[in-house]
């Protein structure tokens, strides 16, 4: 499966699980589907989830965990049955990711902390003379957090070239547009001025993302950030750039329409093949 196909499948799985569970944060999960697809398809070297030499990934914007669960399932790290437990009683698949779940390196949910933890992992890897990399996906609104910039300064000062940040720059935050709430622009200049190798790409273009990640490997003395311009709710027409989809669960009619818009080859899950079919609409 190429990254585009993986992203489409991840989107379908996001819709299926959020519809089944009646849980929101759909827009944010959809906006990172392409980024995760490229990372997990082409970039991250993870031979086993407990291999100390593996590349690390921290989803610092933890509220998009559903996208991570979907990609972990597609990579065989989670089973489809596990994925189906999303936000049901007794699950390890919460709205925010938890390290008790296989494949999650660090629990997140409180914004602004993943980059510092990733910086510590990267610093440690260098001391251990290990060559693996650490990737941290943050949101643009997460850049409101001072602790993120503490980490940005630390990583640049220590020339952590084995650390890559990705900013999901979808321009929306919990209560409106980022430019109206706390304008981070020009966000690329901010990162550049903090000493990071900075690239701005279309966060829905697998080719641009892959090329940007390849470029980060050529940086030998500074950390890298890839600012991925994305669209909240990408792939579902009525969700795109509508911040209400930070919260709303899907109705059955919306779910049907959203799936209809997906041209995804749905994952082989056995059964009927229609995602969500067996789950009653709980709303």
């Amino acid at each position: 499966m190429n990254s585009d196909d993986l992203a489409r499948t991840v989107r379908a799985l996001i819709l299926e699980q959020s519809y089944s569970a009646g849980v929101g944060h759909i827009g944010s999960a959809l906006s990172i589907a392409d980024i995760l697809a490229v990372l997990f398809n082409d970039v991250l070297a993870i031979s086993a989830v407990d291999d100390p030499q593996r590349d690390r990934f921290i989803l610092s914007k933890g509220h998009a965990a559903l996208a991570l669960y979907a990609v972990l399932q597609q990579r065989g790290i989670l089973t489809y049955e596990q994925l189906r437990t999303y936000c049901t009683d007794g699950t390890l698949l919460s709205v925010h990711p938890d390290f008790h779940l296989r494949g999650v390196d660090f629990s997140t949910g409180s914004l602004g902390n993943g980059l510092g933890v990733g910086a510590g992992m990267a610093f440690g890897a260098r001391l251990q003379q290990r060559s693996h990399k650490v990737f941290v996906l943050v949101s643009d609104a997460e850049c409101n957090e001072g602790s993120l910039w503490e980490a940005a300064m630390f990583a640049a000062h220590h020339r952590l070239s084995n650390l890559v940040a990705i900013v999901d720059n979808n321009g929306q935050q919990a209560m409106g547009a980022t430019q109206d709430i706390l304008d981070m622009n020009p966000i690329d200049d901010k990162w550049r001025s903090f000493g990071w190798h900075t690239q701005v790409v279309d966060g829905h273009s697998a080719a641009q993302l892959a090329s940007a990640f390849a470029e980060t490997r050529r940086q030998a003395s500074v950390p890298s950030v890839v600012i991925a311009n994305t669209v909240l709710g990408r792939g579902v027409s009525f969700m795109e750039n509508d911040m209400r989809w930070h919260y709303l669960p899907l109705t059955s009619a919306q779910y049907a329409q959203a799936l209809n818009e997906m041209t995804a080859p749905l994952p082989d899950r056995g059964g009927s093949g229609v995602p969500g079919e067996e789950v009653a609409d709980r709303r």
Binding site: S107, G109, G112, G120, M121, A122, F123, E150
Partner: protein
């Protein structure tokens, strides 16, 4: 206590190359022996406590045992959420060293007083808290907790004081140390307040009052059973701490009395809002103002015994 800390840390770091030391830009003239011995394992992260905990969390996740060092109030509260979500939740061997309990920072003023650290840290029930009474006990505690798999908070006194007489550096989790055998009143204390409390015991003895002093040096686990057993032998106990009366040693003792139905009258001496009035001074002066000098502790005991 800071010299004993760094000397012991250098010793254990020689035999354990996982140990690192991070500072939030504090510890000038204190931390240099470690920095000189292990330059690659010493890291001044700058004035950024939240990031210090996050970086240390990342280091612990890949196999290191990072010690983070700052003032007790900064390293317990500025980065409290990072401590909760990182080393506490992920059960990581991260060591938090907070310098300056109580009024140790003296003339530095309110911003520097470590008066809530034990209370807030105690809420994290898997965070092992060590409150050494003197340098010898700190050294024992550092060695005893060397292989502790989860996080530890060490509350260090800033002032170098003589060893606590009768303590002999003993440290054992779940155990307290008792000094004296008097039955009129039980004095319960923690950390280097043991000095003032033992001096108060001497004053009391001069007034014909026989006391026993209990020194508590750890929480999570605390010496619950041990102290309960001792409390049962007294009708009056006084807790004494250079910490807020809310959340610290006095609260812990009150919880024991309540939970285990111990028929012992308890009074809690410590720092209250009334003592935080902008008036500055030496540690000794401020303790006296807060009723925590040996004389005022003894006076309080005598009053409670009806002899004041």
């Amino acid at each position: 206590m800071r010299k004993a800390f760094i000397d012991t840390l250098v010793d254990i770091a020689r035999v354990d190359d996982r140990i690192m030391l991070l500072t939030g830009d504090l510890g000038f003239m204190i931390l240099e022996p470690f920095a000189r011995a292990f330059p690659g394992r010493f890291l001044n992260v700058g004035v950024a406590e939240a990031n210090m905990i996050n970086v240390a969390t990342g280091l612990a996740l890949v196999g290191f045992i990072p010690f983070v060092y700052s003032a007790a109030t900064f390293v317990s509260m500025r980065c409290y959420e990072q401590i909760r979500n990182g080393p506490v939740y992920h059960r990581l061997p991260l060591r938090i060293v907070g310098v300056g309990g109580g009024f140790d920072y003296g003339f530095s003023g309110y911003s520097h007083y470590g008066i809530e650290d034990v209370g807030v840290m105690r809420l994290q029930s898997t965070l092992f808290i060590v409150v050494p009474a003197d340098s010898l006990q700190l050294t024992s505690a550092l060695k005893a907790t060397q292989t502790h798999p989860g996080p530890v908070y060490y509350r260090l006194g800033k002032t170098e004081r003589t060893p606590v007489a009768g303590l002999d550096g003993r440290f054992e989790p779940r155990k307290c140390v008792t000094i004296g055998t008097g039955k009129n009143v039980l004095l319960i204390t923690m950390g280097d307040m043991a000095h003032e409390v033992l001096a108060a015991a001497d004053v009391l003895r001069d007034h014909g009052v026989a006391s026993t002093t209990v020194i508590v040096s750890s929480f999570n686990p605390a010496p619950e059973e041990h102290v309960c057993e001792i409390l049962k032998g007294f009708s009056l106990a006084i807790s004494v701490e250079d910490h807020s009366v809310q959340g610290g040693l006095g609260s812990w003792t009150s919880e024991l009395v309540g939970r285990f139905n111990i028929p012992c009258r308890l009074t809690c001496l410590g720092i209250t809002d009334a003592h935080l009035n902008g008036v500055s001074g030496t540690n000794i002066y401020l303790k006296k103002q807060a009723g925590l000098s040996s004389e005022s502790i003894a006076d309080a005991a005598l009053k409670l015994l009806g002899r004041g």
